[in-house]
């Protein structure tokens, strides 16, 4: 399968169909992977594909303005490209999507024990990218076990707690936030030229590492991803202090599905969640 | 195909022949009908004119029994049972207040998850007319029938979701497959007066008489029904109508299951064709659609 990727990459570069291929190569520790940016045919052999190829590479598309890009893409990553296309951040003709029918990636943060599939892969279905130019199937590896139960189990569990318990829970979690903005930077959909967190006129919320500053930042991040987040899980993975960010993203994902039957990243022509409405949207919360 | 079967009280009494023929047809076609053990009243007229909640709780109880059988689809033949079960499901799915009350009565949560089908629906939409065509050995050619649907099978349409409200056609389609000839007539869903059966028989005679007249005028030799109440009214009242209006129709009133049975080559007796007031056998003999054994 890696041969297929390499063959395709070679062909793309040779025929000048693309200027650069974004894929994965071995990291310095010889175990993990690191994003690879191949613009010379000679470097193609560096490309790898294994369960450590966790990154959502669509984050890098913005780094090469004006260039044609070939990109190795898992199902979840392709969904974020759908949103980027929907939001006018990409031109479809500028990217060549080497779609991977991925069978799951490993959970890097898991300590000890066997190598296990990442939690986010269990809810992933189908693993086929919604958009691609060529599809490469992964045959050798065993599929990540599909999560048969409710994908919102942990969200629901939290929902049932009392308001005080919920506050306590999130206060504890957010208190560790150091505002490194790794969650934002790794997110393929956080592409604002200047994030509101950095603006000073007005200062939207406190930059202090404090209860309200951290709270505001995280609510802001979540709201700005409402109806956009495609649950690639990169924010939670990148967070050095282990804040369960997916539990927030999933909560909104669940709500907008229930309230507005809206799902992110399924259709490039779809209007953004907050730039559209239905006359019959629920309003039982309004007095 | 395996279903929980809810016969209802009529099919165990006045409409025995409907029960018999349904079971025969099902057996012949390999449709497994397992009677819900210990079923109770479906909540029809006696319950629903007295107490709304009772008329919901009774069918829900039956549906819960079906659920215990691990069978998530219930089949019934009686239009009234069909209506009650469907209505109960509708309320349990859409009306929180009623659901809560009913759940309290039956002591179990239920959200309308057991699917309810009429046997007509199963024959046509699940077994399929095409498959049925292949199984017909004894064509009912030349038999002119008026398909009569009555009031409960299609109404209210948002609940029954079975057939066209004003111009139902399921039975007509079925008859065509048996090579019988369904007549075009406007009284398919006209009221037969069943609700007044015992209280104001006069009205029933008038209404049922009109239906028989229209069927007769349009050239029907028999009327096909899918409801035990329709059947008993139209069949039973012909004598009284004769007396009052001096009109002797002598039109046999048959269940669609009986005709399907005949076309599959099942013996008339097994289909209960000997249990009608207006004897259909002479007609069926004349039309040469009886199976000679």
């Amino acid at each position: 399968m890696i041969d297929q990727i390499k063959t395709k990459a070679k062909e793309l570069l040779k025929t000048k169909k693309v200027d650069i291929v974004i894929g994965y190569k071995k990291a310095s520790d010889r175990i993990g992977a690191i994003p690879a940016f191949i613009d010379k045919e000679g470097d193609i052999d560096k490309l790898i594909w294994d369960g450590y190829c966790v990154y959502n590479l669509s984050n890098y598309l913005k780094d090469f303005p004006g260039k044609k890009i070939g990109i190795v893409t898992k199902g979840c990553d392709a969904k974020s490209m759908t949103v980027l296309l929907q939001e006018n951040q990409l031109k479809r003709e500028d990217i060549f999507i080497i779609g991977i029918e991925c069978s799951g990636i490993v959970d890097e943060k898991r300590k000890g024990g066997d190598i296990a599939y990442d939690e986010r892969c269990k809810g992933c279905k189908p693993a086929t990218p919604p958009i691609y130019d060529v599809l490469i199937k992964e045959e050798e590896k065993k599929q990540a076990p599909r999560l048969e139960q409710d994908p919102y189990e942990s969200v629901r569990k939290l929902e049932t707690k009392s308001i005080e318990e919920k506050f306590k829970f999130w206060q504890d979690e957010f208190s560790r936030c150091i505002r490194c903005y790794a969650c934002r930077q790794i997110c393929p959909l956080c592409y604002c030229p200047r994030c509101v967190a950095e603006q000073t006129q007005p200062a939207w919320f406190s930059k202090a590492v404090s209860v309200e500053g951290n709270f505001s930042w995280n609510v802001n991040r979540a709201m700005h991803l409402a109806g956009r987040c495609i649950d690639c899980g990169e924010c939670e993975r990148a967070c050095p202090v282990g804040i369960p960010l997916r539990d927030i993203n999933k909560k909104i994902e669940k709500d907008v599905k229930e309230l507005f039957s809206y799902e992110a990243g399924v259709d490039t022509e779809q209007k953004p969640l907050f730039s559209s409405f239905d006359k019959n949207d629920p309003e039982d919360f309004i007095k | 195909m395996k279903y929980a079967y809810f016969p209802g009280c009529s099919l165990h009494s006045t409409a025995k022949e409907y029960d018999l023929s349904t079971k025969e047809v099902a057996r012949a076609l390999g449709i497994e009908l397992i009677e819900i053990p210990d079923w109770i009243c479906c909540g029809a007229t006696p319950a629903h004119i007295t107490m709304h909640l009772l008329s919901l709780a009774l069918p829900v109880k039956n549906l819960l029994k079906a659920k215990e059988m691990d069978s998530f689809e219930v089949v019934t033949c009686c239009a009234a049972c069909f209506s009650r079960l469907k209505i109960a499901n509708h309320f349990m799915q859409n009306d929180n207040k009623h659901r809560k009350n009913v759940e309290e009565i039956v002591g179990e949560p239920y959200k309308g998850e057991v699917k309810v089908r009429h046997f007509l629906d199963v024959l046509i939409n699940v077994f399929g007319l095409k498959n049925l065509t292949e199984r017909v050995t004894n064509k009912l050619s030349g038999l002119k029938v008026a398909c009569y649907y009555g009031c409960l099978l299609t109404r209210p349409p948002e609940i029954t979701q079975l057939d066209d409200l004003e111009e139902p056609h399921l039975m007509d389609d079925l008859m065509k497959v048996l090579d019988a000839e369904p007549v075009k007539w406007p009284y398919k869903t006209e009221c037969c007066g069943a609700s007044f059966s015992l209280t104001k028989t006069d009205i029933v005679l008038k209404l049922s008489g009109d239906i028989l007249q229209m069927a007769h005028d349009e050239g029907a030799q028999a009327i096909v029904v899918a409801c035990p109440l329709c059947q008993s009214n139209l069949d039973l009242r012909q004598a009284a109508i004769k007396k009052k209006y001096k009109k002797d129709f002598n039109i046999p009133i048959l269940y669609f299951t009986q005709l399907v049975g005949l076309s599959l080559g099942i013996e008339p007796k097994k289909l209960g064709l000997d249990k009608h007031i207006v004897n259909p056998l002479p007609l069926l003999k004349e039309r040469k659609v009886l199976v000679d054994k």
Binding site: P65, G66, E87, N88, Q89, Y191, C192, P193, R194, C195, V196, Q199, Q201, P202, A203, W204, H224, K271, P272, F274, S275, S276, K279 | D164, L165, E166, E167, P186, D217
Partner: protein, 654 residues
């Protein structure tokens, strides 16, 4: 920055509950406040002079007026400070009357709150920016979409004022629905007799241009500056050469059902829809024309002496600019085939009111004979059913179609006039005859023309013995009614044109759940839309009879002319603006703008050294609702007068 605060007593209205002096004193200590004062009536001339004098004396550059609701006096004080040399958008008002003194009784608490409200206003004004009104030019031409009576009347009115009007009509002729009518209620004027002169006026006016057999393809721009693409469909007949002699359609061998006659009569493959058509130039129906189907025939071309037939004609798309648009697209008939009780539209001897109009018309397909379409026999018993589709939330329309009562009465009258032995039966729910001489007309039909009115619904119609059996209830007598009818006429309701939503989307005007176009205000702006420069007339907004249609046409014309006579259009500066450096170009704002006031723009990004797409506000279109600002994740778009900085400053001050 020098802020002046002026607190109004409003007689005792404010001073009765709020300690105005204390508010004034407290305000003088707010940051950046250089002067504060109070006065009995700040809005009075002496009050305004006090403000003006203080501005000069203390060199104030921003003003807060603590008084009543800004909805009352914001304009007053804007003018006042402007006169004193301050930009009118550098004032804010603290509403200490409606929101404070009038709703609280405790003097201490009310005073406290008044101080707080004033503090809010001071903090907001400290972030205000001077703003200037903007001006746009106006294209002095009006587009009228639809050439029915509505569009015709509007064109006549515009032309009368010597401004150019352009009618776009998709049918081959103008005239619309009214051209199909026989007589009009309640006066029984011949519809053609009163419509034809108007059609001729329009066709002869030097100010009116007609594009018939044409459709709107695309609309862009904004009030004063609409750019419209019009598709002129290939007519296959040169409109400039044709003399209207009619030889072509007389000889054409193909006969098809006539749309104009609702299928009751036939027309040729080359045809004018009706004899008085304007323009009197035929069109070839390419779907049925033998030449187009088989490349044989060509009779019309051979016979045309002026060589007007052009088989190779192509659709042409033209682009024109307009200052205003009048939408006069009219209505469609409700499709009654949804009703099973009426036989799903399958009975041959059941027709609609519009069929009846054609049938009863002496130049119509039956020569004015009222017959049964099934066998051509003259009718005796005719059942009219009102409210078919109308007032039926289940299967039809929730609204009343307004004219069916009247046209049914007219039909009942015409029936008896045409056929002395006939009998009309009318099933109705209510008779709604609210109009000049309308009620009298219905009464006359009942009393003098013997129409039997039955209050009730029809439950079933079926064929028996060659007749239609109509069964229904007469709720007044409580009886069941069964009528053996020769003909049933359904008064089907009026519905929006099928393509109304797509036109509305093109024009960026809202439409309701029935696809009827929505007026800007149901009472006070019934012919305007929320998109300025676009006006509504006739039944595209709601069912209307002819007098109402003509009235709204003239009303819309006046609105359009009101724009035409302006030199320039002034726009309030309280609109959105984009900081293009911050804009990512995601265009969430563009998609969320109810007015299409945002467009794409391309800028050279100096940081990235490349061109990129960003949003840009079309200033003339923006109404200043601010929805865009709230969907902008990067806060790149802001609303003047209610900027993020102003609001955040207010919140900070809490």
């Amino acid at each position: 920055m020098k802020i002046g605060v002026f607190v109004c007593h409003c007689g005792t209205n404010i001073a009765g509950t709020v300690d105005v002096e204390r508010v004034s004193q407290a305000a003088s200590k707010f940051p950046k406040v250089k002067h504060s004062a109070s006065y009995k009536y700040m809005c009075s001339n002496p009050g305004q002079n006090l403000v003006k004098d203080a501005i000069k004396k203390h060199k104030l550059d921003r003003i807060v007026i603590a008084s009543c609701s800004p909805s009352l006096h914001e304009k007053t004080f804007r003018k006042c400070v402007e006169a004193a040399g301050i930009n009118p958008y550098l004032i804010e008002m603290a509403n200490i009357r409606e929101h404070c003194s009038w709703v609280h009784k405790d003097r201490e608490k009310a005073t406290q709150k008044a101080i707080e409200l004033t503090r809010l206003a001071v903090s907001k004004v400290s972030r205000n920016k001077p703003l200037e009104k903007t001006y746009t030019t106006i294209e002095k031409k009006v587009l009228i979409i639809g050439g029915g009576i509505s569009g015709i009347q509007a064109a006549i009115d515009i032309a009368f004022a010597n401004y150019p009007a352009v009618i776009v009509e998709r049918e081959p002729s103008i005239g619309g629905r009214m051209a199909r009518f026989d007589k009009t209620f309640p006066t029984l004027d011949c519809a053609a007799c009163i419509l034809t002169p108007k059609m001729v006026t329009v066709s002869q006016s030097e100010h009116v241009t007609m594009h018939t057999y044409s459709e709107i393809e695309e609309v862009s721009g904004f009030v004063g500056n609409f750019t419209v693409k019009i598709r002129k469909k290939a007519r296959s007949v040169d409109i400039n050469k044709c003399t209207g002699c009619g030889a072509c359609y007389n000889k054409c061998p193909v006969k098809v059902p006539s749309e104009f006659d609702m299928g009751l009569g036939k027309r040729k493959a080359i045809y004018t829809p009706f004899p008085q058509a304007v323009p009197n130039v035929p069109v070839i129906d390419r779907e049925n024309c033998l030449y187009f189907k088989t490349k044989k025939c060509g009779i019309c071309k051979k016979i045309c002496t002026v060589g007007a037939i052009d088989y190779d004609m192509k659709d042409e798309v033209i682009e024109e600019k307009f200052g205003a648009i009048i939408v006069a697209t009219g209505f469609n008939q409700f499709d009654h085939s949804v009703y099973g009780e009426y036989g799903y539209g399958k009975h041959k001897d059941m027709i609609t009111g519009l069929h009846f109009e054609r049938m009863v018309n002496s130049s119509g397909p039956t020569g004015g004979k009222i017959i049964r379409p099934s066998d051509g026999k003259e009718v005796r018993d005719v059942v009219f059913i009102q409210c078919v589709g109308s007032r039926d939330e289940q299967k039809g329309l929730p609204y009343c179609s307004r004219l069916c009562c009247m046209y049914t009465a007219k039909h009942a009258l015409l029936l008896r006039e045409h056929n002395k032995d006939s009998q009309a039966y009318v099933f109705y729910i209510d008779i709604r005859a609210a109009g000049k001489n309308y009620e009298e007309f219905v009464k006359k039909v009942q009393d003098e023309y013997g129409a039997i009115y039955l209050r009730g619904r029809v439950s079933r119609i079926f064929e028996k013995g060659g007749k239609l059996i109509v069964r229904g209830a007469d709720t007044l007598s409580g009886a069941q009614i069964e009528i053996k009818a020769d003909l049933v006429v359904l008064a089907t309701g009026l519905v929006a044109q099928k393509d109304a939503p797509s036109l509305a989307q093109m024009l960026h005007i809202p439409y309701d759940k029935n696809n009827l176009f929505t007026e800007a205000h149901p009472k006070l702006a019934p012919v305007e839309t929320i998109t300025s420069g676009i006006f509504l007339t006739g039944a595209c907004q709601s069912p209307k009879d002819i007098p109402d249609t003509v009235a709204t046409a003239s009303a819309a014309s006046v609105k359009a002319l009101g724009l035409m006579v302006q030199d320039k259009l002034a726009r309030e500066p309280l609109i959105a603006s984009v900081n293009q450096d911050l804009c990512s170009g995601c265009l969430a704002c563009l998609k969320a703008c109810p007015f299409s006031a945002i467009e794409e723009d391309e800028i050279e990004d100096r940081k990235l050294r490349r061109k990129r797409t960003v949003a840009k506000v079309r200033e003339a279109v923006c109404t200043g609702c601010g929805n865009c600002t709230a969907v902008c994740r990067m806060a790149a778009i802001d609303l003047e007068g209610f900027t993020n900085t102003q609001i955040m400053e207010e919140v900070e001050t809490l």
